[in-house]
Structures are given as C-alpha cells and as structure tokens.
C-alpha cells in the first residue's frame, strides 16, 4: 500500500532526521572529513609554535587572547570556515550526482527537500565540530597562563558562536551552488576569495552584500595591531540585524537549494 503522509510535518522532520543520521555517520568516516579535520588543526599547530616560541624565547609580552582573536579573524573567518563550508556544502548535492548514488536516495519515499536538509544538517554539524575542536585547542594553548580568567571564556564562546553562524550560512549558500552548478567548487572559490574578500572593504552599504560583513559585525573590532587592516572600513551592522541577516541568507539559499533539487532534472552521465 502507498503510504500517504502529505502535510504531516512530523513525517518530513522524520525524513530529515533519517537522512541526517545516515550522512552524519557516513561523513564521519569519509576520507574528505579526515583530510579537512587535519587542515582544521593547522591553527592549533600555529598556536603551539607561538606558545612554544613565547616560552622559550622569553618574549611573552603579547597576550594570548590577542593572538587568539587575530587567529580567529585571519585564519578561521577569512579562510578555514570558507574552505570547509565550500567543500562540504557543494558536496551535499554534487557528490550524489557525480558519484551517481542519487538514484538510491530519490527512489525512496522521502521528499527530495528532506535529502538536502538532512545532508546539509549532517555536514554542517561535522564542520562545526571540526572548527570547534581546533578553536578550543588553540584557545587553551594560547591562554595557558590565564585559564582561570572567566572573561576569556566569554570571548571564546562568542567566537565559536560567530564561526558556527558563519558555517551555517556559508554551507547553505554552497549547498545551493552545488545543486545549481556543475563547476560549483570553482564558482565557490571565486565567491570565497574573490567576492567575499573584496566586497567587504567597499565603503557604505556595498559591504552588506557579503556574508563576512555580518560575521565581522558580531566580533569586536581590533582597531590597532598587526591585523587591524582586516577590519579596514568595516561599518558594522547592529548585532540583531547581523544575526537576522545571517539566518535570512541561510533560509533563502536552503529554500532555493531544496526547490532546485526537487524540480531540476539531473542526468547521470556515463
């Protein structure tokens, strides 16, 4: 008998949950995850070298939290979360098409949008975990001498939340790109290191057309120091607006990805 569950939100959510659990399991074991997990440890290595140098050179005058904040902006915000979101986000749709496994999913009694949302959620979870492990380790290494200071943990939590928001938003955008375009990685690289890196420095309202603008708006602005140029010309949006915009962008691109995946015809090539 055909199981009819039209209009039941619980059926849809259950479909998303099932897809999520499958791809969280698969994603954990994928080669790609292992490679990117190693990449996400790069800042930990950098933090370790800095700390090692501070201890043994005796020049420990730069505060650990200052280095940590710069590491978040330079390495995580401008590079790592973009790379992780790009490779995991685009693969939500494209790995099923390129790997020709799409048939196994689309011949099941689940809405196609549940496939996209379930896979997106699973990959976003993985990327957030990868990022959080690296950030936590970097934080503890760089602030080894000040681990008793409560105020530092507030900074840590804020940074992790902002980066997580960035991953949620970027992964949604790249999920859309992956369902829409064949050469999604190339387009994603141009977007990440072209558009995002240029448009954020435009004066006035133009910078609001980048995702990184809203992420930077949620971070404190280091007006001085070696990496203050990264906040050059930032005209921050209010926190509430920034968070709203990040969720709005996420919702728009996820909806578009679900719509495209449901109605676009994917011809699996020989």
């Amino acid at each position: 008998m055909i199981q009819k569950n039209t209009g039941k939100l619980s059926f849809f959510l259950s479909s998303v949950k099932n897809v999520y659990s499958i791809f969280l399991f698969m994603g954990r074991r994928a080669k790609k995850t292992k490679i990117f997990f190693l990449l996400s440890f790069l800042p930990v290595v950098i933090a370790f070298i800095i700390k090692f140098n501070q201890i043994f050179s005796g020049r420990g005058n730069v505060r650990g939290i200052y280095i940590f904040s710069n590491l978040i902006i330079v390495f995580y915000l401008q590079f790592l979360i973009l790379i992780l979101a790009l490779f995991f986000g685009t693969s939500v749709g494209s790995e099923e098409i390129e790997g020709q496994t799409l048939t196994y999913l689309t011949t099941r009694p689940i809405p196609k949008s549940a496939i996209i949302l379930g896979k997106y959620s699973a990959y976003t979870t993985l990327v957030i975990i990868m990022m959080a492990v690296g950030v936590l380790l970097s934080f503890f290494i760089l602030n080894l001498n000040n681990l008793g200071r409560f105020s530092l943990y507030k900074i840590l939590v804020r940074d992790v939340v902002v980066l997580a928001l960035g991953i949620i938003c970027y992964t949604a955008f790249f999920t859309f790109i992956g369902t829409f375009l064949k050469k999604s990685i190339l387009v994603g690289l141009v977007f990440s290191f072209g558009w995002e890196n240029v448009i954020q420095y435009f004066p006035g309202s133009t910078q609001r057309f980048s995702i990184v603008h809203y992420l930077k708006s949620l971070l404190p602005v280091p007006r001085t120091g070696r990496f203050s140029f990264l906040m050059f010309r930032l005209e921050p949006s209010p926190d509430g607006l920034a968070i709203f915009m990040l969720f709005l962008i996420t919702a728009i691109f996820l909806s578009l990805a679900c719509f495209l995946f449901s109605y676009k015809e994917y011809i699996l090539e020989d």
Partner: protein, 308 residues
C-alpha cells in the same frame, strides 16, 4: 486486468540525442522483460517510469498516479539501477540499513528486513565487508537486495544479471520468478534474449528509442528464428564437412576461410543445423576446434528485423 504502469506518447531527448520516442503501453502485474541492444532506450524507459527523469512529451502513471516528485509511490517501488555505483566506504549491511531507514520502518523491522534481503541474495556472510572490496557479482546482488528489501509491489530491475557468474545469474532468475505468483509487477531489462526468456514470456522489444514489438516471447522467437544465422566452424576438414550438408535446403551459403581450416555457414534454421552437426562430426571423424555464432547477438537480430 488493470494496468499498474501506463505510458502515453512518452518521449525523451538528451539534447539532440533521442532517448525514447512515442512510447505508449500498459504494464500489468507479472514479469515483463524489456529487451533491446545497448543504447536502445531501456534505461531511459525505466528511469521515466520511476520518475527519475522528466519526459519531454507524454505522461507516465503508476497505479493511476503521476510518478515524478510523488515520493509516496516509492514505498511500493523498488529500483535496481544498471550503473555500478555505491557509497563505497559503507559495508553491505550499513548500505541496506541506511536505505531502509528512509522507508520509516522501526529499528527492529529495519534489521529484520535487511537480514532477509541479504539472505535472499546470499550476501549475509559478507555483509560486514566494505562495498569497495566486493566483487562485481556481489555488488550486483547488493543492488538487487536494496531494491527488494522493503518488499515492494513494483520491482524495476535494470540489467540485474550483468556481471553475475552463471550460478549467481540462476539465483537471481529464480528469485525474480519466485515473485511472479505474488501479484507483483516486475520489470526487468536486458540486452540478452536468453536471460529474459528464462524469466518471462512477456517481452517488450525496444530499438532506437521505439517500441519495436511487444507480446509473447514466442512471437518474437518466431521473428528471430527466420533470421539467417551465420555459424563458424573451425575443424580438421572443413571442405568435407561442407559437402555433407550443402544439399540441405536450410543451408543458404557456405564460405571457406583462406587457410581452409574453417567455414562460415549461413542458415535460416539454426536448430536443424545444430542437431545435424554432432552426427556428421562422428560419422566422418572430423575433429572440431571451435563452433561460434558471430552474429548471435541482439543487435544483429534487430538489424535483421528492422530490415537493415
């Protein structure tokens, strides 16, 4: 009997390439064989009736419902794709369990169904091996297992016997035939006539994107049997052998090879010729090295039937 699958004027193009043209048919419960040479449009037809691709023209109905984006229908449809692609890092067990999860069964039901499906295709012993390490035949059986695990009413199998050894082939044929009496609709495609013949008598012939013929296999067999066959025999005395059957009215032409050790015989009654050959070999003490049928493939038969 009420048709389970109906298509009307179904046509599909891939750019300028014709995939399927103006296919109107009705499929009733039972086993139906889709037969055609490679590239004839069999896979296109199966993808259209399972809603994986959109027709350019025409409609497809499964149990009276449109199939594309009607995901509810997949609770009663099982599909085995032709292509050999998997989530390679999974084990066979994880693969079946994962796909069954998408059918919203309870955890205990998922396990029992997965176990049963793997037992049917005889993969239980290898269920904990990663798919990457499976042989071609095991991968083929795993594809069949995922198509039948949820006990579907309609089973669509695209070339399910390709890559299987004779024993594996016989088992899958036996499995498909066992479903016949259960009121299910099973659609099996192949480019090998004897494979289809072993499963069903109802066949649909597809050629160059069009339904060339459909009906009882005997009708198709009759058509095919009038096709002049070429048989090549490599033996110790080709000329003597030729002299023994040249007067038979079903032998149309005889050619000798330049080395005189083999001959090509064109006949319009292959069965009669084959029944005569053993006695000729024995009576005349002719040693046979090889008997082959160079045009014994579906493409040659189709070329003949369409009058090329």
């Amino acid at each position: 009997m009420k048709p389970i699958i109906e298509t009307k004027s179904l046509s599909k193009w891939y750019g300028n390439v014709l995939g399927l043209s103006d296919v109107t048919l009705q499929i009733e419960p039972g086993i139906v064989g889709i037969l055609g040479p490679n590239g004839a449009g069999k896979s296109t037809f199966l993808k259209l009736i399972t809603g994986q691709i959109k027709p350019n023209i025409g409609i497809v109905r499964v149990k009276g419902q449109k199939v594309r984006n009607n995901y509810h229908l997949f609770s009663i449809i099982g599909f085995c794709p032709e292509r050999d692609f998997f989530y390679e890092e999974m084990t066979g067990w994880q693969f079946i369990i994962s796909l069954l999860k998408l059918h919203h069964f309870s955890p205990s039901e998922i396990e029992s169904r997965a176990q049963k499906a793997l037992e049917i295709v005889e993969l239980v012993e290898d269920k904990d091996r990663v798919i990457r390490s499976y042989s071609r035949g095991m991968r083929q059986r795993l594809k069949v297992a995922q198509a039948i695990a949820h006990d579907p009413e309609i089973i669509v199998l695209d070339e399910p016997l390709s890559g299987l050894d004779p024993l594996g082939r016989r088992k899958i044929i036996h499995l498909i035939k066992s479903y016949k009496g259960e009121g299910r609709t099973i659609i099996v495609s192949s480019h090998v006539l004897p494979e289809i013949e072993a499963m069903t008598k109802r066949i649909i012939l597809i050629h160059q994107g069009k339904i060339f013929a459909q009906g009882d296999i005997h009708y198709i067999r009759d058509l095919i049997d009038t096709h002049p066959h070429i048989i090549s025999i490599k033996c110790s005395d080709a000329r003597m052998l030729a002299s023994k059957f040249i007067h038979q009215d079903y032998v149309l032409k005889v050619h000798f090879s330049s080395s005189n050790d083999s001959l090509l015989i064109e006949t319009n009654n292959r069965d009669k010729l084959f029944s005569l050959l053993p006695s000729l070999f024995i009576e005349n003490k002719i040693e046979v090295d090889e008997i082959t049928s160079p045009d014994d493939n579906l493409q040659a038969v189709f070329d003949y039937l369409v009058g090329k």
